[in-house]
Symmetry: C2
Subunit: 117 residues, 2 copies
């Protein structure tokens, strides 16, 4: 099932606020962080992100992402788009294929919001 | 709007797997982590968790959680239940009121899955 998500990017979600445990997060900041977490909160997206993140140079060709996930190419592309729009991946086209690369520090920034620095 | 979520607890989500960037996460582990992240990925739940987490002793009375959030008592109770079932909060009843306390290390465990240790 493909769900539609409103997306934001990690850096705007993180620029916003102190870690959750330090002071109460405001409504606007909570909305932004929730959108970022929703982009992560899907098994297929976690698997895709994890394959890219653990690949050499933290980059992978979309051609190598479809088989391991066991979903259709359009569904995989949708999930990659959500992760890209949320600021976790960047996309570049080289020849026939698109390549996805982990955005340095994107996961660290989200992680840093959940816990005290 | 109140949504229903399938919930799991943080410790079972985290016992599961190496950080996302170290090796590709498997389907079962990804499903568990997604459920945990979904429990967090809601503005009202992030605000509630943040109020509890930043309170003295990381504990708060439900009576002090309703006004700041600006939602009805049943909706607030629903969100607190989701956070409790997901393993982020524990609930205890003292006198008339229920008190919610942050589970130590629950946020750190999720955070630790997103990044390299």
């Amino acid at each position: 099932m493909v769900t539609r998500l409103e997306v934001t990017d990690v850096s705007s979600a993180v620029a916003c606020c102190a870690p959750l445990v330090r002071e109460p997060i405001g409504q606007t900041d909570a909305e932004q962080l929730a959108v970022t977490l929703k982009a992560l909160a899907d098994p297929a997206r976690l698997r895709l992100l994890s394959i890219v993140a653990s690949s050499e140079d933290q980059e992978a060709c979309v051609c190598d992402l479809i088989d391991p996930i066991g979903l259709s190419q359009p569904t995989v592309s949708h999930h990659l788009k959500v992760l890209t729009e949320a600021g976790f991946l960047t996309r570049s086209k080289r020849g026939t294929w698109a390549y996805y690369r982990l955005v340095p520090d994107a996961l660290q920034q989200v992680s840093g919001l959940l816990v005290s620095a």
